[in-house]
C-alpha cells in the first residue's frame, strides 16, 4: 500500500490528491475532474463518474502552429468543461499520469493554480476497483474569462532560453530513455520516429528517465526521499538552481517538471517543450552523445 501523500515529505503535498480524496469529491460542485490520456478511446471506454475529457491534441494544442492554445482557446475550454476561476481542476489519466501532468502544465501557463493531480491516475483507480462509467457528464457551460494572456515565462523554456542556459552551465534534465539520451535511437522504444535528424542530448543534461519517479505497480509518485535520491543525490541536481527539463515534445518532461517543482520544491524549473524534436533538427546547435 502506498504511503499516504501527507507522509511522503513533499514540498507541496496539496497539489497531489489521493483516489480516496477524489472519491469523496465526486459530487463537489467546486471540483472538476479531468481525464487526459494518450489513448483517445480510453475516456469513452469508461471514466471516473463526472469526469470530463480534455484531449492534449485537440484541446490543448493550437491546430495550426506548433504552440498551445491562446487565451481565447483556454477560455472556451474552461467554459466547455463548466469550470470557473474558483473551480479546483483535478487531472488524472493513463500512463502514470503522463498526459495528466502535461495538461496540468498547460493550465499553469494560464495561471489556473487551483489544479491538482490524482496520484496513480487511471491505473490506481482501476486497480482499486472503483466505479467507472461511460456516461458523459453534462456540466453547465460557464463564461470563463481569463484575467491575463498566457504567461509562459515561469514554466516554459524556449530554445533561446536553453541556449543561454547551457552557456552558463545551468541544470538540464533529459527525461527520455537512456537510448535516446545516448543517441542510439531517435525516438521512444515502440514509438514512431517523429523526425529528429540527429541523436544525442543537450550538452550537460543529466539523464533521469521520467517514469523512475513512479511506483510502477500502482502509478503513484515515489516519496520525497526516493525522489531526492534519484534527482539530487544520484544526479547532483540542486533544488535552488534554475532547471530545465526536456524530452521529445515536452510531454514526458512535464511529468518530471511536476515532480521537481511540486514534490521536491525546485524553486525555478521550466519545461522545454520544443525538446528533442526541435533541438535534434536545428542547424549548428551543440549536441553531446
Amino acid at each position: 500500500m502506498a504511503t499516504p501523500i501527507s507522509e511522503r515529505g513533499y514540498a507541496h503535498p496539496d497539489v497531489l490528491v489521493s483516489t480516496d480524496w477524489v472519491q469523496d469529491h465526486l459530487q463537489d460542485p467546486n471540483v472538476r475532474i479531468v481525464e487526459s490520456n494518450e489513448d483517445t478511446l480510453l475516456y469513452s471506454s469508461g471514466h471516473i463518474p463526472g469526469a470530463v475529457h480534455v484531449d492534449w491534441t485537440s484541446d490543448l494544442n493550437d491546430q495550426i502552429r506548433r504552440d498551445y492554445i491562446s487565451r481565447e482557446g483556454f477560455e472556451k475550454l474552461m467554459s466547455r468543461i463548466g469550470a470557473t476561476k474558483d473551480t479546483t481542476v483535478v487531472f488524472y489519466g493513463d500512463k502514470n499520469n503522463w498526459w495528466a501532468t502535461y495538461a496540468f502544465w498547460v493550465f499553469q501557463l494560464f495561471g489556473h493554480t487551483k489544479a491538482k493531480v490524482m496520484d496513480g491516475g487511471r491505473l490506481k483507480w482501476e486497480k482499486e476497483g472503483r466505479a467507472t462509467t461511460r456516461d458523459v457528464p453534462s456540466h453547465s457551460p460557464t463564461n470563463y474569462k481569463s484575467s491575463s494572456e498566457r504567461n509562459d515565462l515561469p514554466h516554459r523554456a524556449y530554445r533561446d532560453d536553453v541556449m543561454a542556459h547551457i552557456k552558463k552551465q545551468g541544470q538540464l534534465v533529459d527525461v527520455r530513455s537512456p537510448e535516446e539520451y545516448a543517441g542510439t535511437r531517435l525516438h521512444m522504444p515502440d514509438y514512431p520516429n517523429e523526425g529528429a535528424l540527429r541523436g544525442g542530448h543537450i550538452p550537460g543534461a543529466k539523464s533521469v528517465p521520467w517514469a523512475r519517479a513512479i511506483n510502477p505497480e500502482d502509478g503513484s509518485f515515489k516519496t520525497a526521499t526516493e525522489l531526492k535520491k534519484l534527482y539530487c543525490e544520484d544526479q547532483k541536481l540542486s533544488p535552488s538552481q534554475e532547471t530545465i527539463a526536456y524530452c521529445r515534445i515536452g510531454e514526458r518532461s512535464s511529468h518530471t517538471w511536476f515532480a521537481l517543482r511540486y514534490l521536491l520544491g525546485f524553486s525555478n524549473v521550466r519545461n522545454y517543450d520544443g525538446s528533442w524534436t526541435e533541438w535534434g533538427n536545428m542547424v549548428g546547435v551543440p549536441i553531446e552523445k
Binding site: E38, D39, T40, L41, L42, S44, S45, D94, R122, L123, E126, R134, M188, D190, Y191, P192, E194
Partner: protein, 148 residues
C-alpha cells in the same frame, strides 16, 4: 491488393461515421472481445505468441480449419487495451475462415483507416504490429500448405 470484402465493408462503414460515432463503434467492437479459448491456449501464454511492440500485451494464434482456412484468436492482457481488443475483434470477424495466403496480404496500413483520430503515437505501432503478427502467422500457415 484489395482487402477481403468483409474487412473492406467494416472499414468503409467506419469511414462513414463522424468521430463520435466512430469511437462508439470501436468501443462496441472492443466489448465483443472474447479471449482465446482454453483449448487453444492458457496462461501463462507462450512468449512465441506475444505481439512485439504492443503495449496492450497482446497475443495472437492462428488455427487451421479442415478446409484450410484460418481461425484467428487473441488475448489482450492490459485492461486498458481497448483499441487492441477492438482491432482483434475486427480482424477475427473479417478474416477468420479465409485462406492463409489471403490473410498474409493484409496491409498493416488498415490500422490508420480503422482508427483515424483515435490513433495515438504509441498505440499506432502496436496496432500495426498486431496486423503484422497475423500476417506472420498466415505466412507460416501458407508455407506449411506449400510443403504439404
Amino acid at each position: 491488393m484489395a482487402l477481403p470484402k468483409k474487412l473492406e465493408d467494416v472499414i468503409e462503414t467506419l469511414e462513414l461515421f463522424d468521430p463520435s460515432d466512430r469511437t462508439g463503434m470501436l468501443l462496441s467492437y472492443s466489448d465483443q472481445f472474447r479471449e482465446v479459448p482454453r483449448e487453444i491456449a492458457t496462461r501463462p501464454f507462450a512468449k512465441s505468441h506475444q505481439i512485439p511492440q504492443c503495449e496492450s500485451d497482446a497475443y495472437a494464434w492462428a488455427m487451421k480449419r479442415p478446409d484450410g482456412g484460418l481461425d484467428l484468436h487473441f488475448a489482450v492482457e492490459n485492461p486498458s487495451g481497448v483499441s487492441a481488443r477492438a482491432l482483434a475483434v475486427i480482424l477475427q470477424k473479417t478474416l477468420s475462415g479465409l485462406p492463409p495466403s489471403e490473410i498474409a496480404q493484409i496491409d498493416p496500413a488498415i490500422v490508420e483507416r480503422i482508427f483515424r483520430q483515435n490513433i495515438s503515437m504509441g498505440k499506432g505501432l502496436g496496432l500495426m504490429s498486431m496486423v503484422q503478427a497475423v500476417q506472420a502467422l498466415a505466412k507460416a500457415a501458407a508455407a506449411q500448405d506449400t510443403h504439404a
